[in-house]
Amino acid sequence: MKNEKGVKQSGKKFEVFEQTRVSAGDLDGMISGGDGLKERSIAEGKPHLGYSAPVHVRSDDCIEMRRLHRLFGDTKAVDDVSFSVKRGHVFGYIGPNGAGKTTSMRILATLDLPSYGDAFIDGLSCVNDPALVRKRLGFMPDSFGTYRDVNCREYLDFFARAYGLSGAERNQRLRWVLGFTGTEGMAHKPIRGLSKGMKQRLCLGRALIHDPAVLILDEPAAGLDPRARIDLRRMIRDLADQGKTVLISSHILTELAEMCDSVGIIEQGKLLATGSVDEIQRQQADEIELTLRVLDRSSEAAVVLMRLPYVKEVVTDGELLRFVFSGDVKDQAELLALLITQGFPVAECTSHRKSLEDVFLQVTEGLVQ
């Protein structure tokens, strides 16, 4: 593995790597080193040997991943992922199975360590200060993680105690969580008798019990019926409105598009696109489908359109003309002006932008590692 060279080099510079940051211990490819090493290696296209950015730089971003790498042997589960999420935003993390979503979320949740790079919650390093990170973090993994012979209230009460809540504060949080997640009616029912939707609500409640600033939700909508999904979407939006920052992964893209302020698309460990849904759509969808209703002489209009450089694949369907348009909004206005000046009676013009699903399919290649 190429990265080992880095370990050797950094091993010689023991002082240096101790004073810079190290993504600790039990890792397959431990990489650490000084600044110069990293700059050189990136320039040479070699694996990075160090991390140049200061560890703790005050930032307004509530969640931040910096050059995150996670190697499992030769497999790069997370490969140089960097992005940030602003306070009070909902960030959708999209990718096929095995893309590296869960791995990077686990690193954020301080359950795993990066091979290189770091993740920050509220400006605190997940590698170096996990205990401080955990106080501000609510994590909901893709498994329920429930106990036998315990009812819902006892379950939440246990986690409240585990987070150090006591007395009136604990009871108040319990009441709020039961109310918010709509599980008051289930409070004294055993967990094993709950439906999947109710268990999901309970687990969301568990993640919220200590009033964290950041929520990391791994596939919370998986296997839920439409109503439960709508309820979950509403709850997540409510939480964002209360100022909580949410990182959510899901396969149900239409829902994410409605719920998220920004999304990141990841495949084979690499972050392929990131930004708001509209931005990504704009970045990725440089072609749109336009439909014109020309009341008369539509075939002649089609011939005129075919001559334009940013028009292709014109299909005539009676009065309707459908074609792929690769120009910008100005070009679109010029096109309409041209048709009208040539006397074509254009009655309607509609455009169809690609959905998040289309963009996802376009960006990803369906590769699985």
């Binding site: 101790e18 190290v22 315990v150 007395g167």
Partner: protein, 539 residues
Amino acid sequence: MAAVVPPVNSPQDAMAGDSVNSSQRRMEKIDAWCERWGDRFNPILVKETRQALKSRQFVITFSLLLFAAFSWTIVGTFSLMPAIYDTPSAPRMMFGYYFVLALPMLLVVPLAAYRSLEGEIDDGTLELLSITALSPKQIVLGKLASAMLQMLLYFVVLFPCISYAYTLRGVDFPTTVALLAMLTLAGILMTIVALFFAPLSQSRTGRVAMLLVVIMLLIGAEWVLGLAAYELITFGNLWANDLDQGIPIVGGVVLLAPALGYLLLTLTAAQLTPPSENRSTKIRVALLLVNASVAAWVSLGSMGTEAVFVMLYFGVGGLMLLWTLASSMLVAESPVLTSRVQRDLPQSFLGRSVLTWLTPGPATGLIFSTLNLFLIAVMAVGTVLVFNGQVTSSFTAREQRMVMQFVFAFVSYLTCFLLLVYGLMRSLRRKNNPRVEVGFAALVVVAVFASVGPYGVQLYFNDFLSFPYSSWQATNWVWTLSSILDGDDCSALVQVIGMVGVFGVCGILVMNSALVRPRRTATPERVRQELEQAKRGQG
């Protein structure tokens, strides 16, 4: 619309209402007081108790215990009729009650604790707990406390039966207390052992193997304790009168059991601790505690007449086994520490010189291990020199030399092998990130090669004919140690091997001299603010 007039309460009604209100207030006060107390308990204990009391396993075990105790009371009493009125009949009844109680205490409760911790890992709840404010140690102690609470409940059920047996005469009060104390202590220790095994294996097959090992250990403990209980009930508490038996046993219970229990609990917590944390220091402290307790136990032997050297054999033998295992793993630790762990390390020259050996890392592990091995050797030799001639079972001069040579030879060989393991692990870490257990495997490989290698070579050159021990077999530790035990004088060889070990360790110390240099790891401003805020909150 007519106004609703509230009914006028009679004085009696008002008084009754007042008394209801005051009793309600009293109950609320008690409730609040209980809640405040409840908040102080380990959350795991609260959860486990709630869970355990509702579990089918507890209900079945509790019911069976009641039924068995009741049945034995009837059957045992009738079987002793009519002699029960005039003959001491407690031993038989007590023996029956012991077995009724021992089954849940030594088998059911430890196994339930094992399953509980294993279940946390399997169901993914351990991960959820590890991101809460609970420390791994609290999780393990919570499980242990819950098991102890269950034991207490079973014990309370059997208490009237044992009292009944005591009234039948034949088993005195100290014996009854010793029997119950032995059972309770064994139950707690076996629960700690079971908890230690729970996170040991990560694969499914490994888990099944671990479960079988735990069950076998528990059944073994049940059998050994059963024999001890039989002796105790039948022949009475002999330890109180016989110092040579009493000191090792009572001393062992008082000194060794807590130290070993603490070591196992620390090891269990370390297994649950994330790799980014400092897992090593607490283990090293626990190992030091075991050393100290063994030293204290052996020195207790001087109070008896015969026991000191027997205790020395057991104590030093056990310590050598323990350190062989522990040192190979300490030497295999990762040298990489997170900034946070580095911030917690001693910063001054004095602090680093004295306490660095307790901090994680292979070099500190090697030096810590060799220092401890040397101290164990000194303890063994010191005991022999101080007590020889004072007790009736003293050594002859030849035996004395043999013991001293054996101890130093073992320590010297182990030190040399650890140096090789250190080098092997260092090269292995360049391309991999092995677990510390690989260190033990490396030690086994080194030890086997060191003994089989020269033996095989000399056998080949000797045409596969037998040959006597010579200096060519210097690395063959098996032959050297057995020669020493046979009475041969190998002092020159032991000195050479010892010197190799000393020079090697000094070399490692010089190579890693940076470890003791004063160094400060800066705490980021953001983290400093957080910590100060947390401190203010606590204040």
